[in-house]
Symmetry: D2
Subunit: 351 residues, 4 copies
């Protein structure tokens, strides 16, 4: 039993069924198939907006290709210093952008604040030959620490960045989890709040390998087809990704999967707060609970063979939030997490 | 009914079954799963050699990552001027290698000749500051024109390239088709003949999206894990690819699929030669027949709604091999090509 | 005594004097100095056109930065297969352009023909995902073989390339030599004939290290300041280059220097044609004579200790233009070549 | 009268004389000339060590090429967050290294501390697929704030970095100023203290455009010749740089120039401390004084037409070291700064 990540599961049954259903006959290659075409329309409907959509198989590809479309090689992307794009993709954004710079900002729970964006931009002289030029702001929704930006918060970030012409990218590897937590529409938390490009995550949500880069202004996507091809991310049998998204999006299946994952995380978080066996590093807002575990709790988990990731966090470290021996345990729930496993985890934690 | 490519089909039934069978429970992410591990061993067995194997989802990724491991940015890759890596990947090898140069050589049927390799190398001064340095030779097996290199031919190419230290890459998008055509072992046509790295194609063979980069000297693969990750090609749910390869490789299924495809191409080619309704641009050695079609034959195919690709070929063009109005039609067979469709095609061709 | 290259001399006296004259007091850095400013105006006057000018210290930098401004990484530059940018800069254009492809065309004396440009473009499918997209045509004036394009020839090349939107780059490492050979104005052989960007060479002409990238449409130069800085080519003490150009351009000094060099080459070529001791590989049009030397002539040169470069040329090789033992000797004249040295060379050649 | 930078002067008289003396006759191109050869030996003598030396014309080129030789594209360079390489070269290190990441560390006066290096390395998991891998540590000597690292401090930094295999790069744009401040030998502050590669600055010291990349282990320089050429930094008339270095290094001229510049800065700093018209942001250790100026002092300088740069510094800003209205003024002295100008500045400051 482990809670290491939401990428350790396979695919949901409807996703598998959609793949199976797509496995007949011939279809044109390289994303010109009917499945991909239908998914492109689905995204327009979903976001109540004309969008340009590019399907790929990994979140790293989605994020890096998106950021490459928003920057020039001498550009800079402002992002949280421990965001996935900055710290977990082995420099893929630098690779795809031919060397743009990621400027890391601090912030609690991997959220960045508009004031810090403004202050950072003020230090970067516009047009000054010697410095890279800020061109994009990248946020993660939900963040790597399981926190969620509200539409107002997203808007405030865009307002801080827009005067200098920055585009706003949202890494939505867990977009569905954020969305059901917020209870708003996809449009409200994206283009209506100022998002220019979204990496819409399907893989952690319940697909095998399905991510969509969604451009709310198709003009921004002008170079994307070349970049995706050149990056080896234009699958010949593109319906494999199209079918996964059809399976996810049909009948709100993706939201149901996210609701389940979030509920499992809430179940754990509530029990922890109540039980006092650990405390939350941050509020549990999406599908992950980050628990500060003392040595006794760690020992109990180890004895029970329950897997999780020991999380390192600069903001908490600098705030001296941990007592000696304590660690932050990340427990992530997926669409396939079983309630009885969470209950067993709670019972182990509570001793 | 169309014969446009062998990438327009879906996946074979055993591949689908393998994916379905892999869809239970949790497994570690990023290629550390059991399926991937088993496939790595399968490749060692298959090639009777210790190999380092990296699974990806596209042939462009496989080829480009492989070539990037064989070159430095000021390096050159000798290849056929119309090979897939040179002419059909939108510059992906240049992207992944940070700007290495592909040096295109002419040759009939996209095969390159050892003499021309030697002559080209002689013109590239070793260590000369002003010129890129030759570091790899890349061949396609079977070629984009459906021709096959014998082990002796591969060895002769390596012998021409090795004195200057070039590594030999084989783009095996249709490796299975070549192998069954040759009737030799995987070892004989690869490392025993001098191949250093193979892009082993699963997608066209019968998978959805499964390619393996096989390094016969694991030391050459030292940088591959970083390159693959940084390229966004390290899938989190890596068992998706692992399972496809398990499905393909079990019980020689991959060879059976290739044999069928080759047989369908031979059926067509033989009928054409016999019937005289068209002539072969090159001998049909693998799973594609390239037919020189006069205007009448073109009209019959169009009327029958039979799809194919009009091929352009520099060598034939320069040899004035086509009469006015003639085109080269590429007819590619896949694992799923039906015999009755090929027979119908033959009957249309024969008028 | 050697005729190896026109880059083995130092600087002309007026250039040295201009540097010395610039060596007083303080001036703003990074190209904002008065010398650079004046040179920018001089170029506008010289070309009778508003131009954007960027000074650098090497021809490789000038060419590569220029081509990078004309292409995207998935773009292609058509050029002669043995042009300096294709074959003599160790892949610098690929480096600066983040991986664009140089497509090499054959042609006698390193000149390319409009028909071949058109034919090559026809093979490169517009907008096709799988192929790099042609975006620039690069010619050398005078060519590496000492030939000169007339304004009509340049226009014909542009006419062949423009329908596909290609920009025309002229590598003018020996622009002055071409210009005095043609007897036309700088405007006539550049923007009036369709040139979009010129690498204006000062170094071989008589400076130490001074090249100017001249954009005839300043909009095309929009990214140049970032690219130059990022490439380490924005000198802090920029007046060093500005002063060299002031020294060259004042009073037509640059043209006088080129006239001398060309005259020295003509002296040699005429004597060779007359004397019959060797024959010309190509007509001598600028400041270099390419002599086909038999073994006796080679021996006499060696005995006399006269240095030259043994040239390799694909077009001549394929035409079997050389008899056994013959080599092509390149003899390049510079502003500082002495007439008595050329006369001595002639006398040695004539035996 | 301005104190904006030490790059606003021209070249010292001996440097100019050396260039003039080099301007006779022909010499081989691309750094194979006699001047460059002699300079290479001079550097070996100077550092009492076999070194590989590569001459270029800009500090950005020197630093970026050096760092590119120390990293792979998925590598990271630890450096001060406001160092020249991180913040003042428009991303050149990222460009030359094909996308390596610069990890910025805080620190007073742009000096970085071994403890922070160790702590940062501890957070970067060795071999972990998802993170860039630390491969170099880059320090500036003297720092951009005019502070100097002692040999013991350099050694401590290397000791913190070496267990993870990092190479140590020293940006010595003002190496001479640091050296005379320290009073040690070039060897003591470089390879004896753990420096692997040094950017030895000649330009600010008194040359026009002359920087040397000095590798203390020639094996580390293996790729440098390709990188320099490909970057357009291999001058054809290489003796231009060689001669400048000969002029600088002969008879300890370079040290005399640096001593003068440092003395001018000390003169100013001492007067300020004594006079109380401003206070020092940091101790004045090399050739620059950073003065915290109140509004009255700013007004007096403005009225007197004395130029300087208003410096922004994160560490001081975060320490709230400035009162409202105060700015940090950077006053940099060069080899050519006149004592009477400094005295006039002091008198203006003291009101």
């Amino acid at each position: 039993m482990n809670f290491v990540s939401d990428n350790t599961a396979g695919a949901s049954a409807p996703v598998m069924a959609a793949i199976a259903a797509a496995n007949d006959g011939n279809s044109p290659a390289y994303g010109t198939d009917a499945w991909t075409g239908r998914v492109e329309r689905l995204f327009c409907d979903l976001f109540e907006h004309e969008v340009a959509v590019f399907l790929v198989t990994s979140g790293t590809a989605a994020n890096s290709l998106a950021l490459a479309c928003l920057t020039r090689p001498w550009g800079a992307v402002l992002t949280h210093q421990e965001s996935h794009v900055a710290d977990d993709e082995c420099g893929a954004p630098e690779f795809f952008s031919d060397g743009a710079k990621l400027v890391g900002l601090p912030g609690i729970g991997n959220k960045i604040q508009p004031e810090l964006v403004a202050k950072t931009l003020a230090r970067m002289r516009e047009g000054a030959l010697h410095q890279v030029q800020p061109q994009a702001l990248a946020i993660t929704q939900a963040t790597e620490c399981g926190l969620v930006y509200t539409p107002a918060e997203v808007r405030a970030l865009k307002d801080a960045a827009e005067p200098r012409g920055l585009k706003l990218h949202m890494d939505g590897a867990r977009f569905a989890n954020a969305l059901v937590a917020l209870g708003c529409s996809p449009a409200e938390i994206t283009w209506k709040a100022g998002v220019d490009v979204l990496s819409f995550g399907g893989t952690k949500n319940g697909a095998w390998a399905a991510e969509a880069v969604v451009f709310f202004d198709p003009a921004v996507a002008a170079e994307m087809k070349w970049r995706r091809k050149r990056g080896g991310h234009t699958l010949s049998k593109g319906r494999l990704i199209g079918a996964q998204f059809e399976g996810l999006l049909a009948g709100g299946h993706w939201l149901a999967l996210a609701r389940h994952a979030n509920a499992m995380a809430a179940l754990l978080a509530d029990a922890v707060v109540k039980g006092g066996a650990a405390r939350l590093a941050w509020p549990c807002q999406a599908n992950a609970a980050f628990l500060i575990l003392d040595t006794a709790a760690q020992a109990r988990l180890k004895a029970a063979g329950i897997g999780f990731i020991a999380w390192s966090d600069t903001a908490l470290a600098e705030a001296d939030a941990l007592k000696p021996g304590e660690v932050i345990g990340r427990f992530v729930m997926s669409f396939s997490t079983r309630k009885e496993d969470v209950e067993r985890l709670i019972s182990v934690l509570n001793g």
